[in-house]
């Protein structure tokens, strides 16, 4: 949508930092960070994924890199190692790197200024830096948002996740960070039965731009078991969904199917028209 590199500004060498957040835990932030990171790398973008969930390291396992960790994000923040020493190259892609979280420290061992410092060490090397936020809206969340150019808010179509997402969107907007939404784990059969909120319902309630919709898909769990992001399995619906999301992040216009009558775009246009 607005990659800094493409807009011809003087800062063309600086990567875009996107925080992946949600408020509620277990909705798919880490899955999204790993899958979107891998999908962007497949498009030839240089990507760094940062695990900001200090104390509850996860992203390393999603990427199958848990055995290769030497240094971590706290070591970079405290200048215990050189930035380049802490990042780990993915087994599957030369474009994808991980900056792991520390597993032994507390969430508030680093502050927002230190996080900005860490990100600045990598902005020149990468096109995209995706920061996987911990659940909650406390220090860990604030750290993950520090230095972010924009945010991706992940929610499931369930009441508690949507309520938390709404809270997070409000907090991000008060920080001046624009948020786009990924609706994860939707089950279109349940939507058809009227037992799950539809894409349109969630869009109506939260009122922010939808970046993508990912179906509930068992392939995500097998992919996590093997430490290989689901986008390497293009037969899976979730893999295809994250591939489309990566294309949208890079600025491609791909319509989002709403599966409940009318395309989402006509809906949005109508909305804007009414409110103009």
């Amino acid at each position: 949508m607005n990659t800094r590199r493409d807009n011809g500004s003087g800062k063309k060498d600086l990567g875009e930092v996107i925080v992946i957040t949600s408020g509620k835990g277990g909705v798919g932030k880490t899955t999204t960070t790993a899958s979107l990171g891998a999908a962007l790398a497949l498009r030839g973008q240089r990507v760094l994924v940062v695990d900001a969930d200090i104390g509850l390291r996860n992203l390393d396992m999603m990427l199958g890199l848990e055995n290769r960790i030497v240094f971590n994000v706290v070591d970079v923040a405290k200048k215990i190692c050189k930035p380049a020493q802490a990042i780990i190259k993915s087994k599957k892609s030369n474009n994808l790197y991980l900056l792991p979280a520390s597993q032994t420290d507390d969430k508030d061992v680093v502050d927002e200024a230190e996080v900005r410092y860490v990100l600045d060490q990598f902005r020149r090397e990468f096109h995209y830096i995706l920061v996987d936020s911990p659940a909650g809206i406390e220090q860990g969340f604030r750290n993950a948002c520090a230095g972010a150019d924009s945010a991706i808010v992940v929610t499931t179509p369930e009441v508690s996740a949507i309520r938390d997402a709404d809270r997070v969107v409000g907090l991000l907007s008060s920080k001046g960070i624009e948020a786009r939404l990924i609706i994860n784990r939707i089950d279109f059969e349940m939507v058809r039965r009227g037992d799950m909120l539809s894409v349109r319902d969630v869009q109506d309630i939260l009122g922010i731009e939808i970046l993508g919709v990912v179906e509930r898909d068992d392939q995500i769990i097998s992919a996590a078991n093997c430490g290989e992001p689901v986008v390497y399995n293009q037969k899976s619906k979730a893999g295809q969904a994250f591939t489309r999301i990566a294309a949208r992040v890079c600025g491609e216009q791909i319509a989002i199917p709403s599966f409940d009558g009318g395309s989402l775009w006509s809906r949005i246009t109508k909305k804007l028209g009414v409110n103009a």
Partner: protein, 112 residues
């Protein structure tokens, strides 16, 4: 309680997502405005009073939404109008049905 609310709002609907929607609307207004239950009820009551000075309205259909678009937040007050009051000075602005049983909706929008 919510089943009763659901019935009222959606007739015979037994789709659980409609319950989810109305519960979310209810709770998000509180979350977004930071108003307590009582304050919200007070606000609602006073709004109804103001509108009733000028219109006969269907109080059952009266609804307050706190609606967020990309970069603005809007307070939407939705009120089905049964008929205007004869002497209402503001009535010219609203289209009033000939037939008194029809209802029109007065929507008051305000950017917050």
């Amino acid at each position: 309680m919510f089943n009763a609310l659901k019935k009222k709002l959606f007739g015979q609907s037994n789709e659980s997502k409609d319950t989810a929607k109305s519960r979310l609307h209810f709770v998000l207004v509180q979350d977004r405005t930071g108003l307590t239950n009582e304050e919200m009820a007070g606000f609602r009551e006073e709004m109804v009073k103001v509108i009733e000075k000028y219109f006969v309205i269907d109080k059952e259909g009266f609804d307050i939404k706190y609606h967020r678009l990309a970069d603005t937040t809007t307070l939407l007050i939705n009120s089905p109008v049964i008929v205007r009051r004869a002497t209402a000075p503001a009535a010219k602005a609203a289209r009033v049905p000939e037939n008194e049983t029809d209802t029109e909706t007065a929507a008051v929008a305000s950017n917050v």
